[in-house]
Symmetry: C2
Subunit: 154 residues, 2 copies
């Protein structure tokens, strides 16, 4: 489907869309970051025409993805870890953009895999990991959604 028809179809569904500038403002990151994440395929806007770059529009779900990415970087994760975490989360939790579900996740150290893995947040499990000196990085979608709401009119 051509980009224009796709845009019209989505507009008629009444979903709100964000320009790069609006999305960056809503999330609290720079336009440069957004561009980098686009180029790296981390958060690709739903509407993205080729050429001048004016036809870039982020859907509400895209903006939530941006907010998750921004959060993961803000807690000190590397770009590759943050993007891996985001990719995994939106794959497992297809409802991530829904403000009502407010699911809670955590990235935690897996001794066998020797890497961070995404799991549903479980307080007992998180404390047990910490008691072994292992990292726990909560990804609470309610907090991320609340922050987004404070910053924008989402």
């Amino acid at each position: 489907m051509c980009i224009f028809l796709r845009f019209c179809r989505i507009l008629t569904m009444g979903e709100k869309f964000f320009t790069s500038k609006e999305a960056a403002k809503a999330v609290g990151c720079s336009l440069r970051q957004l561009q980098y994440w686009r180029e790296k395929g981390v958060v690709v806007p739903t509407i993205q025409g080729s050429g001048t770059g004016r036809s870039i529009y982020y859907s509400q779900s895209d903006v939530v993805q941006l907010a998750i990415m921004e959060y993961l970087l803000s807690v000190g994760l590397s770009f590759s870890e943050a993007s891996r975490g985001l990719k995994e989360l939106i794959k497992i939790d297809t409802d991530y953009a829904n403000r009502e579900t407010k699911k809670r996740w955590m990235l935690c150290w897996d001794e066998k895999k020797r890497s961070l893995v995404l799991e549903e947040f479980d307080r007992v499990c998180a404390i047990a990991l910490m008691d072994k000196g292992q990292a726990v990085i909560p990804i609470w979608l309610d907090i991320i959604h609340d922050l987004l709401q404070q910053k924008s009119s989402l």
Copy 2:
């Protein structure tokens, strides 16, 4: 003091030194990583001559620093966060290289500073942070020392 005299002085004190290759093996990282950290001033070997690079020797303390850096990167932190954490730790805990003291630290999210801060590990405080959905990354020197000991003859 010239590099040769410095080297002789240290050798007579009986401290064990490691070539880059030995240090990389002891820590479980690559020679390239060591070189990069040297260039960036993150872990600078105690003995480092100019020129060919053959006169590079890591002290036992240097190797512990390498192990801390390797650990921080392995839990997914970005290079800048990991090196900042390491710098802060060796500044606060001058006894970091002593296997007997086994101090426990944690990097945790500071809401006011909007960044990770280093604090002495405190289980109650760590759980309280996690209960607010905030990241806790333990840096337990006993574990890091134990891992080093397993990997090398330190």
